[in-house]
């Protein structure tokens, strides 16, 4: 373990072991209208995403539906082009990669989507899907088949499963196959978008444990996108909370669940139904409706639902408050303290 981590630390040129750095990432989707299909407005999907991901850690990105989590993932996977902001991978500006560097990047960075059906061709055997990906990325040859078998074992399936169609696998097996497909190009960084949302609880645990053990063994770095806070607590090291496309709190996961600072994070944590009788002693119920993504946030994104809202919250964007070295929050309440 120790030996491996020193090797990796040397590889990351930065010295501080940061693999991915995201600064002020923004994505506005234009809304086209009129006869000339001109831009008549924007969907402000991501307004400001800023975070670091360290080597071999799991960073969780949480927030409600429409808060921009998937869009951040897509930009990191270079499947969407940022409107503003920067992504650095191993200290290299991802926006400025040459075409050969981009090919390299696309191998290093893989994205696994929520719906395993969407990532597997329903008319292809698992074997052919995996081998095709290897051929496209020119990895694993000439013994593609052997490598496919090795990957299946790695994700806890067997050679026999290579000869199945996606619909012939159970939900958990299908999610493992999708993972094998992502791993076949030897990535370092894997973006997992709701990796267990389609699974039953009895199977979810298997997949979570698999993700953990793969990380221990191969030192993968994960960005875990999810709205399931129990999953976040179970597998992530650090968490970034987003609201209306803006990061509002960033903290080691353990600390976040112990002392969340942002009112939205607090409401989120207290809304999770706990599977224990009489656990619902005091819920902090949020009022109001989820926000409209076509309206640009001017001050605090949470101001219209926040139970502690003050006049300043509707006027200016709260600055970043450093709770400690690794815990930051953007809220006027913490500024005032």
């Amino acid at each position: 373990m120790g030996a491996v981590s020193t090797m990796r630390a040397e590889k990351t040129e930065t010295g501080d072991d940061v693999l991915v750095r995201v600064e002020g990432l923004r994505k506005w989707f234009p809304i086209l209208g009129g006869v000339f299909q001109r831009t008549v407005g924007y969907i402000y999907a991501v307004e400001d995403a800023t975070f670091n991901i360290k080597n071999a850690e799991t960073l969780a990105l949480v927030g409600e539906s429409g808060s921009g989590k998937t869009t951040v993932g897509l930009m990191l996977a270079k499947l969407e082009h940022p409107t503003a902001g920067k992504i650095f991978y191993r200290n290299r500006d991802v926006g400025k990669l040459s075409s050969s560097e981009t090919r390299w990047y696309r191998k290093r960075v893989q994205m696994v989507f929520q719906d395993p059906y969407a990532s597997l061709n329903p008319r292809m055997l698992i074997k052919d899907t995996i081998i095709e990906v290897m051929k496209v990325h020119r990895v694993g040859g000439p013994n593609y088949y052997d490598r496919a078998v090795e990957l299946m074992t790695r994700v806890g399936l067997s050679e026999e499963h290579l000869y199945r169609y996606p619909h012939e696998l159970s939900g958990g097996q299908r999610q493992r196959a999708v993972l094998a497909r992502a791993l076949c190009v030897n990535p370092e960084f894997i973006i997992l978008d709701e990796p267990t949302a389609s699974l039953d609880v009895s199977v979810q645990a298997q997949v979570l444990d698999l993700l953990k053990s793969l990380q221990d063994e191969f030192r993968y770095t994960y960005l875990l996108i999810t709205h399931n806070l129990a999953v976040v607590r179970y597998i992530s090291d650090r968490t970034v909370v987003m609201y209306r496309g803006i990061w509002v709190e960033s903290s080691p996961t353990r600390e976040l669940f112990g002392r969340a600072e942002h009112p939205y994070t607090q409401a989120l944590l207290s809304s999770v139904p706990i599977p224990e009788p009489r656990s619902n002693v005091e819920k902090q119920l949020l009022k109001g409706e989820p926000p409209n993504p076509t309206e640009r946030v001017k001050a605090c994104p949470f101001a219209d639902r926040c139970p502690y809202v003050m006049p300043v919250c509707n006027e200016k964007t709260p600055p970043v408050t450093q709770i400690n070295d690794s815990h930051q929050v953007r809220c006027w309440l913490t500024v005032k303290k």
Partner: protein, 338 residues
């Protein structure tokens, strides 16, 4: 029959005819719901929760056959009613709330038009009004009153909207308003909050609980989320492969699950409120076309005994807890029943 009981389902068996063969979706489901209680129906995908809910409303699709069983609602045997008699119960005495309101709401009509339809066809009071203008006024007042009760923001504006203009949370509020507007005796809510964010889910569940209490309505809450059941229901039934393998009060089942499947589910659940090692249940759910003999859970059960592979466990009552497992059956587990 006990007076406080609104629904009794006994030994319900439902099959689907498919090209793969006969899907044995329900294999003897039995449970009761008391007046004014919220009963939670839990279980993983395909375990038969929705089919149970549909069977009670007699809304099963055409390829379904009710092979056996009894459903007694408020003293009436639903399975022996004629369709027109059932029509007087469905949508009036028994109403439904679904996970996806789109299966229920019509996209081309405004909320007002749809709500009005429901009231005109089902509400006796409104139907008894003679004057047309009076009817419209009664309908309007009732809609606004219900929307206010579900704390719908700006009800007068919302009634002019089409379903797609409502957020997920607003749609579920609308569904609750519609479901409660006819003062039903039983509401079947199938994953009503599964598609919602947790902060909105908490609002909707809170609302459902308060309406249910206010009107003394019985609710069957179908969900795969054991957290939702813990916070909403008084009793729970855990389904597996078309049977309810364990039933009891939420307090007793969560603090001491008896059935190995319930135990496994509780252990598989990561928790947002504490650090916990989770353990998955090995294997996968059985094929309902080709069910294993004996206990349907035996291929995945770590405590399975010889008898579990051969004989279906009996329904046992252990101090009010209903369990279907040989472990608790003194006679079978000692091999006396062959």
């Amino acid at each position: 029959m006990v007076l406080s009981r609104i629904l009794e389902v006994a030994d319900l068996k439902v099959e689907f005819r498919t090209y793969r063969g006969v899907v044995k979706a329900l294999n003897g489901v039995s449970f009761n719901v008391d007046k004014g209680e919220v009963f939670g129906l839990a279980g993983e995908t395909g375990s038969g929760k929705s089919v149970t809910g549909l069977a009670i409303q007699r809304l099963l699709p055409g390829n379904a056959v009710i092979v056996e069983g009894r459903i007694v609602f408020d003293g009436r045997d639903l399975l022996s009613l004629k369709e027109d008699e059932m029509n007087k119960i469905r949508g009036k005495e028994i109403t439904a709330v679904f996970q996806d309101p789109h299966t229920y709401l019509n996209p081309v009509f405004t909320m007002r038009e749809q709500f009005r339809d429901i009231l005109l066809t089902n509400d006796r009071e409104i139907a008894s009004i003679k004057d047309k203008r009076e009817i419209e006024k009664a309908v309007h007042d009732r809609i606004i009153q219900m929307l206010t009760e579900v704390q719908m923001p700006a009800p007068e504006r919302v009634i002019k909207m089409y379903p797609h203009e409502l957020s997920g949370g607003m749609k579920q509020r609308m569904m609750l308003a519609m479901a409660f507007s006819l003062r039903p005796k039983l509401i079947i809510a199938d994953e009503p909050t599964t598609a919602l964010d947790v902060t909105i889910q908490a609002q909707v569940l809170e609302l459902m609980k308060s309406l249910q209490k206010k009107y003394g309505t019985s609710v069957i809450l179908i969900t795969h989320d054991l957290g939702v059941i813990a916070e909403t229901c008084s009793r729970i039934g855990v389904m597996y492969a078309g049977r309810i393998v364990e039933t009891g009060t939420v307090d007793s089942v969560y603090s001491e699950p008896l059935h190995p499947y319930t135990q496994g589910l509780m252990r598989a659940l990561p928790r947002a409120d504490k650090d916990l090692k989770v353990e998955s249940i090995g294997g996968s759910v059985p094929d309902l076309v080709d069910l294993p003999t004996g206990c349907p859970f035996h291929p995945r059960c770590s405590r399975a005994m010889e008898i579990c592979r051969k004989i279906n466990p009996r329904t046992l009552n252990i101090d009010g807890r209903i369990v279907e497992c040989h472990l608790y059956d003194g006679e079978t587990s000692r091999g006396r029943v062959a």
